[in-house]
Amino acid sequence: MSLIDARGLRKHYRGMRAGDVCALDGFDLTLEPGRILGLIGPNGSGKTTALKAFLGLTHLDGGDMRVLGLDPRRQRKALMTRTGYIADVGTLPRWMRVHQLLDYVAGVHPGFRRERAQAALSHTDVRPDSRIQGLSRGMTVQLHLALVLAVQADLLVLDEPTLGLDILYRQQFYDRLLSEFDGERQGILITTHEVREIEHLLTDVVFIHHGRAVLQAPMDDLAARFLRLGVGPGEAAAARALGPISERHSLNGIEMVFDGRARSELEPLGPVATPTLPELFVALLGENR
C-alpha cells in the first residue's frame, strides 16, 4: 500500500484583491514505503498547502487522497499516531522543562517510546531539566527531532527541517534522520530550499509549480532521462539540432540540457554529465515562471 496516494488535489484561497488564488491545481503525488521523496518548488508553488493537505490540516476543494490508507480530514487522529511532522514553524511549549515535555508526549501519544527520545538527547547538549525557552534554535530542533523520531511513525513529513540551522546542526540532523530510517516500512516526504543539501538523499522527486506536479520521477529515471552537455562554439549548432530543452552560457562554455537523448549521441560533442536538481528545475521551468 502507498503511504501517500493523492490524485487531482484542488485548493483555492480567496484572494484579497487579485481574485481567487489557486494553491493546488490538480496536484498528484505518490509515496511508497522505503522511499525518500523531495517536493521541490519555489515560494508560492503550493508546497506547504500540499503538506498541510496530507496531514489533514486544510480543507480541499477537490481530489482524492489516502494517507496511510486513511482519509486525513476524517481520520486525522488515527493518522497522527503513525505520522511524524517537523515544520520550520514547529513550536514547543516554552515554559516546560524537557523532562516535563517527555512526560507530556508519553501521556498523549500511544506510540511514543520515551527511552528512545532520551537516548537521542543524551548525545546532545539538551539536558532533562533544561527549560525549553532557554534552548538555542539548533537545540530546539534537536529536541523536536528526538521527539518525532521516538514515535513509531510510518510517514515522516519534514517541511524545511533545517531552516536557520548552522552547518554542524544540519549534519547532525541528517545523521540522525538516516541512521533511524527504516527502509522497509517508512517513507519520508521532505521540502527544502536547500536542494543541493538533500538531492543525493532522495529516491524520488516531485517538482511543483503553480499548484501542479510538473514532474514526478524516481531519481534513477531522471539520471537516465536528462543529460547536461557542455559544448564549445564549434559544436553548438550540431548540439542545437538535437533539440535541447534549455541552453545557457557559462564559464564552462555553452551548457545544454537534453531530455531523452542517448549519452552516445551527445558524447562526441563534449563532456556529458547529470544535471543537478536546481539545474533541472530551471531547465524545465525557467522560462515560464
Binding site: 549534519q171 541512521s179 527502509g183 538533500i198 543525493h200
Partner: protein, 125 residues
C-alpha cells in the same frame, strides 16, 4: 557533505572509493566495512545507493556478507581489485591521458623515463 563527480552515478563512485581503500591497504582483508546506515548518514546519501555499491562489490567477489554483522573485505580481494583496476586504467584512464599528452605536445618518451627516477619531466623544447 561530499563532493561527487556529476558524470558518474554515486554508487559507482562509492564502489571506487572502497576499491581504492582495498588496494592501498586502508581496508585490510577480513576487515569489517562501515554499515550502510553509517555511510548513508555520513555522506548524506540514500541508503539504497550504498547498498547498491556494496552489492556490486560483493558480486565482484571483493566483499563478503558476514551473517548478522555487515560486510567484510573478502580474502584475496586486494589482488583481485588490483587486476580490476589495471583493466580500468588501460581501457578508461590511459586513453584519456594519452589524448592529453598529445594535445599538450609532451615528449612521451621523456615522460616515461621519469617513472624510473620518480622526478618530473623537463619541459619539451
Amino acid at each position: 557533505m561530499t563532493d561527487w563527480k556529476d558524470n558518474e552515478p554515486i554508487y559507482l563512485q562509492l564502489r571506487q572509493r572502497v576499491i581504492d581503500q582495498i588496494i592501498s591497504g586502508g581496508l585490510a582483508e577480513g576487515a569489517l566495512i562501515p554499515s550502510i546506515r553509517q555511510v548513508a548518514a555520513q555522506h548524506r546519501i540514500n541508503p539504497l545507493t550504498v547498498s547498491r555499491a556494496y552489492q556490486l562489490l560483493s558480486d565482484e567477489g571483493l566483499l563478503d556478507k558476514q551473517r548478522g554483522q555487515g560486510m567484510s573485505v573478502a580474502a584475496g580481494a586486494r589482488a583481485r581489485a588490483r587486476q580490476t583496476e589495471r583493466q580500468r586504467f588501460l581501457s578508461v584512464e590511459w586513453p584519456e591521458i594519452a589524448r592529453r599528452i598529445r594535445s599538450l605536445n609532451i615528449d612521451a618518451r621523456a615522460l616515461i623515463a621519469t617513472l624510473d627516477d620518480g622526478g618530473a619531466p623537463n619541459e619539451p623544447h
